[in-house]
């Protein structure tokens, strides 16, 4: 007598591959400015600093070259935060001007997941235009 199969067929690759998956999905087209603020001597800033390190990579900044990443170091034992200002044209349609993550108790993976939940969907859809013109059409146009 056999028990029907239960459990996962595929094993997860761990936290690192989950972070990688989220990073591949990140699109910052809707963000105008990202400000990361933390106190370096705080206890809970590891994940904020790691998040900052990932955000500063060239691949992610290529998704939106106009988005500025700014870091603020504070010395008043305040909680670490990530402030994202939305591009005004998208802010009007979506009614969101600014998104703030209070990252004191969030892990790096959770921060990226939240980013993909709130910021990435606001990015304008890319319009792929493929126009194939034949030689005769091109000749006609030139004339």
């Amino acid at each position: 007598m056999s028990i029907p199969y239960s459990g996962t067929i595929r094993r997860s690759g761990g936290v690192v591959s989950a972070i990688g998956k989220q990073l591949r999905a990140v699109n910052l087209k809707a963000a105008k400015r990202i400000t990361v603020k933390f106190d370096p001597f705080g206890d809970n800033v590891i994940h904020t600093r790691n998040f900052l390190h990932y955000m500063s990579s060239p691949k992610i900044s290529l998704t939106n070259p106009n988005c500025a990443l700014k870091t603020e170091i504070v010395c008043d034992r305040s909680e670490p935060t990530v402030d994202i200002t939305i591009v005004p044209s998208i802010a009007e349609t979506a009614n969101i001007k600014k998104v703030t993550f209070k990252s004191g108790n969030l892990t790096c993976l959770e921060l990226l997941q939240l980013l993909n939940k709130h910021i990435t969907p606001l990015a304008p859809a890319e319009q792929i235009s493929t126009t194939i013109t034949t030689k005769s059409e091109k000749k006609g146009r030139k004339k």
């Binding site: 001597f41 390190h53 060239p58 990443l69 870091t71 170091i73 010395c75």
Partner: protein
Amino acid sequence: MALANRALLQTTAPLLLSRRFRGKINVQKPRKPHFGRQILIDISKPYFGPPKSMLPDIMTCEKVKDTMAKKEIDNPFERILANECLDWFNTSKMVVFLHVNSISMEDKTPVFAALKKNDMHLRTYGKKIVSMATKGTRYDAVNQLFTSHQNIIFGQPENAAKMFKILKKTPQLIVMAGIIQDKLLSKNDLVEFSKLPSLDVARSQLCSVLQSAGSCLVGQLNQNQQMLVSHLDKHIEIQSSPTPEDNKTDIKVES
């Protein structure tokens, strides 16, 4: 044929003894082995411990493997690096800790070169090495900063302003905190320190402040006499200049 072979080297044919030819192999009743052979067999027998079901529960725990395997192995190279790190900490009067964002060596090398020209050294040490170097010393508080990617700049306090100027151009290197002359400073304190004038200028300012107290008192004491002298000078001027008001000034001087 044989005659020809006699000229070549002759090899003796090997002695062949037959043990078994197409016979059945005896497994059921093997004969007793020789004493020496029996000793070797007994020595090489495998030993299996008691079955897991009979063992007490303590011995069947699987977590022991993880805890036992993480024994710290003493790595002499790490010790050497930790000593080097501690030397750097002790010899440089200014130590600045930077948070490093994603930066390529192509962008980092000009910063490294610019800092080197100004007698400052940008170095990278890992968390483990720094904790080995600073545990127990007076630099222990620094370990809290080493959680993500970081670099350290070792230098002298005179070059603090230049350091900030160089780092302004690279937004990927972020100043977190610093140690100046055995005092741990936050980022804002470091910026203020860099804006201070040099030590000689500060000393001269202090001297002038100390002197100002005495000179202020002297000035206040002399104020009345000086006012009287200046008034008298004015009177003399008015008197000496030829004007129709000479009579009036004469009367004033007499009174």
